[in-house]
């Protein structure tokens, strides 16, 4: 079984992308410093906003800090290269991928998993430890909740990936996807609660967000971790993640199927 996994082409791609992430050492260390500094700044802003109060709107300071730290660190750890496919289409390198007996979408996904796994271990873990030392992060409600939160994080990761995949596939039509990618990142940054926890958003917006996939990307895992969700609510959030995942995967596949016909590779 282990041998099969070891020689599987997608697993190989994942391992390759993991080890390639370690190539640029300077960029890694600067990235680390960068996220530590931004966590410190954001936490200080919230400290000032709370002004020494124990809780605001019934939300305790430590819950807010926990949410902020987790969602910020997760969002820096889970970064996808929306330009990966676009770049390959632009340079024509997509041709050599099309010539291999494998799914480009899957190989792209395993590449992303590989590099994100590296960021999770090399980036998320150390910054989390440092944050835990300096700020009072709340512990998980229970071990079971920690595990469920981890599952929720994995689904959240898949959701983010499937959205990023749709953006990158549009590169068949618009060769430069930079603007679309930026728009997507801003929308997710706002509605997924990385900038402002969803708790503090107006009630009407909170209600509206219930029908979107945004509140189950970073926010649901943190709420599960803090023990703010009942078992039914957790089950519902999982269902919602899977539903949206299905929708996005379907859209991505349809777009891919239409787009691949449009490939133009000039020269050579």
């Amino acid at each position: 079984m282990l041998d099969v996994l070891k020689s599987n082409k997608y697993i190989k791609i994942m391992r390759m992308s993991f080890s390639q992430s370690t190539v640029f050492r300077a960029s890694y260390f600067f990235g680390l410093v960068n996220s530590i500094i931004s966590v410190f700044i954001t936490v200080s802003i919230w400290k000032a906003l709370y002004g020494g109060a124990e809780s605001v709107d019934g939300i305790s300071f430590s819950a807010t800090v926990t949410n902020i730290v987790f969602s910020m660190l997760l969002s820096t750890a889970f970064g996808f290269n929306d330009f990966a496919i676009a770049g390959k289409v632009h340079s024509g390198a997509v041709a050599s991928e099309l010539l291999k007996p494998m799914s480009i979408s899957l190989s792209n996904m395993f590449q992303a998993i590989g590099s994100n796994l590296f960021k999770l271990i090399g980036h998320f873990a150390p910054t989390l430890i440092i944050s835990a030392i300096f700020f009072k992060l709340l512990p998980p409600k229970s071990f079971a909740m920690l595990l469920l939160a981890a599952v929720s994080v994995i689904f959240g990761f898949c959701l983010l990936y499937s959205i990023s995949y749709i953006v990158s596939v549009t590169s068949f039509w618009i060769t430069n996807v930079w603007s679309l990618s930026t728009l997507k990142n801003v929308i997710i940054g706002i509605f997924a609660g990385t900038m402002l926890p969803i708790w503090f958003m107006p009630q009407s917006l909170q209600n509206a967000l219930r029908y979107t996939p945004f509140d189950v990307i970073y926010f649901a895992p943190v709420k599960i971790y803090l023990g703010q969700m009942t078992v039914e609510e957790i089950a519902f959030s999982f269902g919602k993640q899977l539903f949206w995942l299905g929708v996005f995967i379907l859209c991505g596949a349809l777009l891919w199927r239409k787009g691949v016909k449009k490939i133009v590779i000039a020269g050579g």
């Binding site: 082409k9 099309l98 010539l99 007996p101 590779i265 000039a266 020269g267």
Partner: protein, 328 residues
Amino acid sequence: MIELENVVRSFKIVKRKSGFRGTLKNLFAPETEIKRAVNNLSFTIPDGQMVGFIGPNGAGKSTTVKMLSGVLYPDSGSLRVNGFVPHRDRKKYVRHIGVVFGQRSQLWQDLPITDSFEMLKSIYKIPDEIYRTNIELFNEILSLHTFENKQVRQLSLGQRMRADIAAAFLHNPDIIFLDEPTIGLDVVVKENVRAFIKSINEQRGCTVIFTTHDMQDIEKVCKRILIIDEGALLYDGTTEKLRDVFGEERVLTVSLNEKTDTLTACGIKSSVDAENPLDHIFRVPKQIKLPEMITEISAKAEIADLRIKEPEIEAIIRRIYEKGAADA
């Protein structure tokens, strides 16, 4: 078996205009032009054949190869290769083919070539034994071992091309597409590459389709050539037949012992070489027999030496490109 029938593929080209008004126009109402890269192309290639696919730049060679390898979709017409429709059955189909794009490496830029080969081994699920014997064989002809631990992006062009060619043959494909595999290579490496392709074709009976601008490649490797221009077939046949049909004249140069005025033999007048007045040059059309001519000349003057130049494939092809097959 490769079958193409009335295959058409066109590209949309946006005409960019310059100047302020042109730029505005580009943004809101771009003018486009449809260019037919491949225009009603039909041909058949049986198993095991080595075919040279030639044509001037922009003739549609690469587009055809890309459609045959499943990368591009045709607009209309039918393509069938060994029972597969390349673009539709891409994932299943590409397992049976090997492709080299001379201008674009298919190896992983940051990996040493041994790692790239290992990767291909998993992607194509190549059994250990076949993998080992192939690597040994390729090493022998292409001497890959001298640079096997270098990263692909650090390789020289010749090394990279050899690695790319080896990579395309690694999974024992039935059909090989080589799109300008000798581009930019030195004479020795070119010869190596040709020998490699030839020997693999003889050993395994795989079909080879070869696009090139190097006529030496064609003469040394391919038995059959297809010439296309503007997406349509101009010639399909053997290299010898090309000489017979299009090679209008041979050049006979006769060196005489004494200076004379122009000679006439079999109705052909000679021209005297300006630099060497002893040399008489005859342009002999293919219907005239050379021995008869030489007898006639030797009756008129004393011959010291003679040289015959067969029409060069390159010259013939140049003429076909310039005029089109009908007028050549």
